[in-house]
């Protein structure tokens, strides 16, 4: 395998954009990405689209060539990847594999989701299709309720408190308020976070990420050629994808995500680094409890300690290991299929030192963790200064 670099990154703001459809969002991100490096579009040899539920949200299917042709990437293979909320993380993983294996030199990955054209109840139903329809979903489960059951068990086993969950929300909103591209730029207090209306006990409104529109894009190239196209390439030190059961009730222990542990172990091994070396991270905080468990599964804090770890400030923008300096899914927004690549864009921006007010102090080695469903797919990527 040859080393691979991210040579270009670009994304749309995240939010509710009534005037922009799925294709317009994807094209905007793609064009921003192409403008971010000296890679002429005719050099792109393969295209991946990460998208969860475009057909359900918009009615349009056959989305990969629908987007690639609109971007002027004529004739090249265009492949859509669906892995629930990890759709574009998975697309990124497969694009990396093509470049690492030497099949292609220049591969573009776009992640996109257009969610706000549907009602919240309909959106909740579409999102639920990433769960086990024959079991948990038929019983009335939503994704919030699945993570609520995870939170309930984590509280039971480890003494995690609602205040710990709220601390994650407060932290991510504080960071997101500094992000001009974030969906909800609003600082909240612990009291506000705790007073959110109940969604699924013990999760309230402020424990849940946002329903957003948005898109993000990157271009990958062999590291040895990266300098031809950009002054600041970012090296992919390690990347891995792993799987687990789709149904929550099939898992032996719902307070940990085996797919996260497996993907992290492989990514750390490939990168030749350990959890202690990671200076900052973008983690998949679809719900506040998910970030708490991710910090445990990635080895940043011992099992069961994720709540106090977040509350103590270690993961704040000024902490020893900032987590979700972008605002995370919680404040930046969570256009499901765009999230994985958006996390990569955010890590790239930090490594390049271009994150403005939310720039973290130590930014040469960062990690992105993208989770699908209630843990059935996970992609962990470790990026570093080239």
């Amino acid at each position: 395998m040859r080393p691979v670099a991210v040579v270009a990154a670009g994304k749309t703001p995240f939010g509710a954009f009534s005037g922009l459809d799925l294709r317009a969002l994807a094209v905007e991100a793609g064009e921003k990405c192409l403008a971010n490096a000296r890679v002429p579009r005719e050099r792109i040899q393969s295209f991946y689209l990460g998208n969860f539920a475009g057909p359900a949200f918009t009615g349009q299917n056959h989305l990969a060539p629908y987007i690639s042709m609109a971007l002027g990437l004529e004739g090249i293979p265009a492949t859509r990847v669906e892995a629930a909320c990890a759709s574009s993380g998975s697309a990124f993983f497969h694009a990396w594999a093509e470049v690492a294996a030497g099949i292609y030199d220049f591969v573009m990955v776009v992640g996109v989701e257009k969610m706000t054209s549907q009602s919240t109840a309909r959106t909740t139903e579409i999102l639920a299709s990433a769960g086990d329809l024959a079991g948990e979903i038929r019983a009335g489960s939503t994704f919030a309720s699945l993570f609520a059951m995870i939170a309930r068990r984590h509280m039971h086993e480890f003494g995690t408190k609602k205040e710990h969950l709220a601390a994650v929300a407060v932290k991510n909103h504080a960071a997101g308020a500094l992000n001009p591209d974030a969906h909800m730029r609003k600082v909240i207090t612990l009291e506000q976070a705790l007073a959110g209306r109940p969604i699924a006990d013990p999760l309230g409104l402020y424990d849940c990420s946002l329903i957003s529109d948005g898109a993000a894009a990157v271009i990958l190239a062999p590291l040895e050629r990266a300098a031809e196209f950009t002054a600041n390439p970012v090296r992919i030190l390690g990347v891995a994808q792993a799987s687990d059961y789709v149904a929550l009730d099939q898992k032996a222990d719902i307070t940990t995500f085996p797919a996260v542990r497996r993907a992290a172990e492989k990514a750390y091994q490939m990168a030749g680094v350990g959890p202690r070396d990671i200076q900052f991270a973008e983690l998949h905080d679809c719900f506040t409890i998910a970030e708490i468990i991710a910090t445990e599964d990635l080895g940043f804090t011992p099992r069961g300690c994720g709540g106090p770890y977040a509350m103590a400030g270690y993961t704040s923008l000024q902490g020893e290991r900032p987590i979700n300096a972008s605002g995370g899914l919680k404040s930046k927004g969570h256009p499901v299929g765009a999230t994985g690549v958006a996390q990569i864009c955010d890590v790239v921006q930090q490594i390049r030192g271009q994150a403005g007010e939310r720039q973290v102090a130590r930014h040469s080695l960062g990690l992105a963790q993208n989770l699908g469903g209630s843990g059935a797919t996970c992609v962990v990527s470790i990026l570093a200064e080239a």
């Binding site: 019983a139 489960s141 039971h156």
Partner: protein
Amino acid sequence: MRTGTVYTETVIYSAAEAFAAEAPFQTAIVALDGASEPSRRLTVRIAGGRVSIGDRVVEVDSRGGVPFFQKVPLSADDVPRPEKSPG
């Protein structure tokens, strides 16, 4: 009738479109008796009063393929008996 123990639970306030009219309602993952974990855990709806982790539950209904479980009342020995009326 299947019986088991509540492994985890939640009360859903914001439901998917098809269930919106029923909210709030409680779901739980139940570890079934006499089955090896975790393959015999089941996601169920809770009927009757609310349950918590560790509560004993029994299947009381099935609607559209969805099992409904209810908290098992305390055994008869635990229930204080009404005092016998004198005479």
